[in-house]
């Protein structure tokens, strides 16, 4: 089978996971497109090496995760990290405050990803956004299944510790205002 055809088949096979990774991590169509372009170009350039890899699909997905992270790093520096971009996120209008709160959490998670080591970051992305089994994550990271599992566990623990002050403390002022609005007094006077 010619190289290009083999590569295209592989990419088609992992396309849904690539799309999910880029979109979930970046939440912005143009950035996601750029990340996917970057990933595909890297795959193209490194195809000879990739095809010799024990698990080419996992390797490609790792490249995709790295491309999305690189783009996210730039995005967070250059723009807001919030994924709420008008026209990009179809559910924005649908759910208002709840959506905003959820996006806050996700923005915090995106930021927290940078606190992880490179392998931990790749492992957690491959596990949750690419649904890869640990054995494949290990193959992509060049380690065993058990080590891959440890990377994910440590990543989650680290994320939890980084997010401890963010997720659970979201919008206390808003909560206060909401509570004020619910108070009997305000109901009487509204």
């Amino acid at each position: 089978m010619p190289d290009n055809e083999e590569m295209s088949l592989l990419i088609e096979r992992v396309k849904p996971q690539m799309i999910r990774t880029a979109w979930k991590l970046l939440g912005h169509r143009q950035d996601a497109e750029d990340a996917l372009q970057d990933a595909v170009l890297i795959v193209h350039r490194r195809w000879r090496r990739i095809r010799r890899h024990a698990n080419p699909a996992a390797f490609v997905l790792r490249i995709c995760a790295q491309a999305a992270i690189d783009r996210l790093r730039r995005q967070s520096r250059m723009r807001a990290t919030s994924s709420i971009v008008p026209g990009d996120e179809p559910s924005v209008a649908a759910s208002g405050a709840k959506h905003l709160e959820r996006e806050e959490q996700r923005t915090a998670i995106r930021q927290a990803l940078f606190k992880l080591s490179e392998k931990q970051r790749a492992a957690v992305i491959m596990r949750f956004f690419q649904d890869l089994p640990y054995v494949n994550i290990g193959a992509a990271l060049g380690c065993g299944e058990a080590t891959a599992r440890k990377h994910v566990q440590r990543a989650l623990a680290k994320l939890e510790s980084v997010l401890a002050t963010t997720i659970r403390s979201d919008f206390p002022c808003h909560q206060a205002v909401d509570r004020d609005r619910e108070s009997p007094f305000q109901q009487e006077t509204s």
């Binding site: 690189d70 919030s82 509204s190």
Partner: protein
Amino acid sequence: MGNSESKTSEIERLLSDWSQEPIDPTVERQLGDVISAPLPSRVRATGTRRAARFWFSATAAAMILLAVGVIWLLPRPQSAWAQVVSAVKARPWMRLTLQKPSEGEPAAKEFSEAVLWFRGDGTVAASQWANLSAWLDLVENEAWTFDSKRGVVRRGRNEPGNDSQYEDMLCLRMLSVLLRRFEIGDAGNVPARLTLVETQEDEVVLDGQRWSQFSFAFKMDSSCPDRLTLVLQVDPKTRCPVRMDVLDEGGPPMHFTIDYPENGPDDIYALGAPASTAIVDTLDLERYFEPRDLPEPTDFQATVLLCLPSKPLAWIIDATRYRSEGGTTNAAYADADQVYQLANRVYYEDYGPNKTPAASWWADEVAKLDFEPPNETTNGPHRMCYCSYGRPEDYDSVTVADDSIEGLEGMILLRGPEMCVWLDPQRDMIVRRMDSLSHEDGAIHATQVDEVERGPNGNWFAIQWRGGRVEELGDPLKEHGPGDVASTLSIAVVKFVEE
């Protein structure tokens, strides 16, 4: 241990929910098209990337002339090129002007006028291209940019990126990154990512005149297949370059003429930015939106009394008891009927020897009431000053102002289109007031912390705060807001638990 596992489960749940959310089919199709597109169109997919090449080429070309380090990189023509560098440095300014491509020559789709400036002493670089201008202070590492379409002057940091540490990085992505960076003016760092792979010095005859010609071939990094060659023609008498050609293997060539004016742009305003243009100081703004580490939690107990601003402590609406231990805070709400009866006692002045019941009296009385079972919560006096106000979608929409409003004199105001936040520069930049537009009811809700107290671990606790509605962002918080909705006053009696 169990606690730790449940926390991890929470993160796992968040990530799983996030991952499983369906993607809009239109977006999915568009992204799928990107992946499935034939390779050549991927490479040339967007105008911004072509523009990135332009910027990279032009910037790298011009910067090289002044970078002393380049001299060290030159193996053979070092002495000759060193003379050129010296000659350029002796001039006040060097100006490079992009020329229109000749008839029949491959060219970018749209020609944009572009001019680059470099001060001879190497302290300033500037550029003007179409609607974008940049002025870089290479000493202070600051970048000023002006986008005439947006009418905004932006001040930012001229900082090196950390992208180069990733070996997987593509040349194409770097170009794109450089373009974006250059918008905030990172030209000063461009040479650091370049590798000079070939140099050549020739003598050429053009228009009957002899010129020294220097050619420098660069690669972006080891992974980039394309070369970028700069050809500079130098006047043998003055040793100053007078023409520069940028030959890009992946794009059309560009030609610049070079002259050396006495004066150059002294600031961004000399590049066309009107003096009245609003400044977005991202250098200053970024620090306000950086995630902050909270101090270690302090164990405390607190009673928060919700009252009317017009009659503080003369009538309470609600009472809440907070207990915080080891970073976990529980809140319990007092029985509403008992609170009402207690308020009645005050109304009939049945509160003992004190003429006016103090907050501590209320706290003691409230402590005797029945409370709902406690729930874990984060909404309490310990969190009021640490509101998460997120990050703006676009810094252009945020300004730093010094508008003073009653009780918030000397605060730093971050004003956005739907939100205002006042930060206290004297107290670790804690949030002293936040106004935000609620998409739920269309009202602007404001919360203002009037009194604070510092805990043993350095945390700031809100002791007194008000909440209510305002007509416009930043309006004073009155007893009654729009819609005649009453504001509320919260008074916290906090006791810190000593270790």
